[in-house]
């Protein structure tokens, strides 16, 4: 059964005659519509069903003792039936190892979100400077993030560590500046005391 394809403007279902026809118009909203259809539209994909054990001597699934084992888990070696097998990058995982891999960020190809600690560090190093005094907190916090998360995986997309370097540089410069400021204040107060009352 071919799936219906709808217009992006009015959600009206577009008949197959208009598929792969450049310059066609949606029958609903009359807007120009270009529908590029691929062979997957004709395919129906169903999940694999587990097979029942034919004999007592056959290996069974760890999670379903009545189902025949199809493949072992590449992490823990447990036997898995077709229902329990999770295939990622041509490797087979049981549900437990898959969950553990997700939690520990080892399965990059199924990760759905990542925190950009380099941007966090850079923001901590730069935004507080606008109000000057919060830099006393922001600069050490930025340095902490840089050192704590230096080895944390960045984006799965091409990205350099330049933000980490800039954050560390700015934070150090701010700390040096704050140090000079405090030293200047202390020196002024001290020299004022030594001079004594006029």
């Amino acid at each position: 059964m071919v799936q219906a394809i709808s217009c992006g403007e009015c959600s009206w279902p577009v008949p197959p005659e208009l598929w792969n026809q450049p310059g066609a118009r949606c029958p609903g909203c009359r807007q120009k519509i270009d529908i590029t259809v691929f062979p997957a539209v004709e395919r129906t994909r169903a999940g694999t069903l587990p097979q029942a054990l034919a004999a007592e001597s056959e290996a069974s699934c760890f999670y379903h003792p009545g189902s025949r084992a199809a493949v072992p888990c590449d992490e823990c070696g447990r036997f898995l039936c077709g229902l329990c097998d999770i295939e990622v990058d041509r490797k087979h995982y049981c549900p437990t190892c898959f969950q553990a891999g997700l939690a520990s960020n080892r399965l990059e190809n199924v990760e759905t979100r990542r925190t950009m600690y380099d941007t966090v560090a850079l923001a901590l190093a730069t935004f507080p400077v606008i109000l000057i005094s919060p830099a006393i907190v922001g600069a050490p916090a930025a340095l902490f993030v840089v050192f704590r998360r230096w080895r944390a995986p960045l984006s799965i997309l091409p990205r350099t560590r330049i933000r980490f370097y800039l954050a560390a540089l700015f934070a150090l410069a701010e700390l040096v500046g704050i140090g000079f400021l405090l030293f200047g204040i202390a020196w002024t107060v001290r020299s004022g005391r030594q001079a004594g009352p006029p």
Partner: protein, 310 residues
């Protein structure tokens, strides 16, 4: 990290207030990145699962784009009418940015919606918002998908189309907007401004009139263009069309008095220029401007109320 990535950039960043989205292509899947700058979220679409890419052109905006460019040019020209250098530069710089934005919007071409359909999802691809970008995307993504799935040789003609797809869709009744009511209220406010300027000329209330008159013109044009057969309140739009003539007359009077002010300013020696005041409309013109606005505003508001309650 850069050298090891399997991803190739497909589109530029579609920026929003709090982040951006972007499309990347891997050997076996398409990646939709949604970023808030601090957190990236990934949606993957296996090339083998993509059933269709639907690109729908959005309604034409030429009138709005031309109006925006015109407004930006008028805003920039205000630099010629002010004596202060700082204010001149303010109008020039802000107007220049507005003109550049309007031109860039026109040059980027028509807008579109792009949908990616799989067997279990229908995802809008926000980074593809222009027809030109959609063509580039299809030129790169189409061959990649076909390399995985093969070519679509023939359409599945044996599959019956959804029965309702061939029939024209039923009209969806849309409630009329409140733009006409806003315009008629603006007429009444402007009438009050004109009368106040007539009564208290030293307060220079009239200097706001060019702005409010321009707002009236824009609102009338937008209301008349947007109507496009969708709003059946003919009396209201008849009143609006008639007010266009009166607006033209007022604009001409305003322009004439403003030009006279400029000439007078140029003629006078510098010390006395600061003492000059501007009377945008003469007595008779002001009375006419206030009178037609009150008439149009009252008639329009009463007609709008009656048609809404009917």
């Amino acid at each position: 990290m850069t050298g090891q990535s399997i991803y190739r950039r497909l589109t530029g960043r579609k920026r929003t207030l709090l982040g951006y989205s972007q499309l990347w292509l891997a050997p076996d899947h398409l990646l939709l990145l949604k970023s808030t700058r601090f957190v990236e979220q990934y949606q993957r679409f296996a090339l083998a699962d993509i059933q269709a890419i639907v690109v729908t052109e959005r309604p034409d905006r030429t009138v709005a784009q031309i109006a925006a460019a015109g407004a930006a040019i008028l805003w920039t020209l205000l630099a010629l009418a002010v004596p202060s250098t700082f204010v001149k530069w303010f109008f020039l710089s802000s107007g220049g940015i507005a003109i550049a934005a309007a031109i860039a919007d026109i040059l980027r071409g028509p807008r579109c919606h792009c949908l990616l359909q799989t067997a279990v999802s229908r995802e809008r691809l926000a980074p593809v918002s222009r027809i030109r970008t959609a063509r580039v995307l299809l030129a790169e993504l189409g061959p990649a998908i076909e390399a995985v799935q093969g070519r679509m040789e023939a359409l599945p003609v044996e599959t019956p189309a959804p029965p309702q797809a061939t029939a024209p869709p039923p009209e969806v009744p849309q409630p009329p907007g409140y733009l006409p009511e806003i315009l008629f209220i603006l007429f009444l406010i402007d009438a009050a401004l004109v009368l106040a300027d007539l009564r208290f000329p030293r307060n220079q209330i009239g200097s706001a009139l060019p702005t409010t008159f321009f707002a009236e013109i824009v609102l009338v044009i937008v209301a008349l263009v947007r109507r496009a057969g969708r709003d059946s309140r003919r009396v209201i739009y008849g009143v609006m069309a008639a007010t266009l003539l009166c607006l033209g007359w007022d604009t001409m009077n305003l322009g004439r008095s403003f030009f006279a002010l400029l000439m007078e300013t140029a003629r006078r020696p510098p010390p006395s220029r600061q003492m000059m005041t501007w009377d945008p409309l003469a007595h008779g013109e002001a009375v006419f401007a206030a009178a037609w606005r009150i008439t149009a505003g009252v008639i329009g508001l009463v007609a709008a109320y009656l048609t809404r309650t009917a």
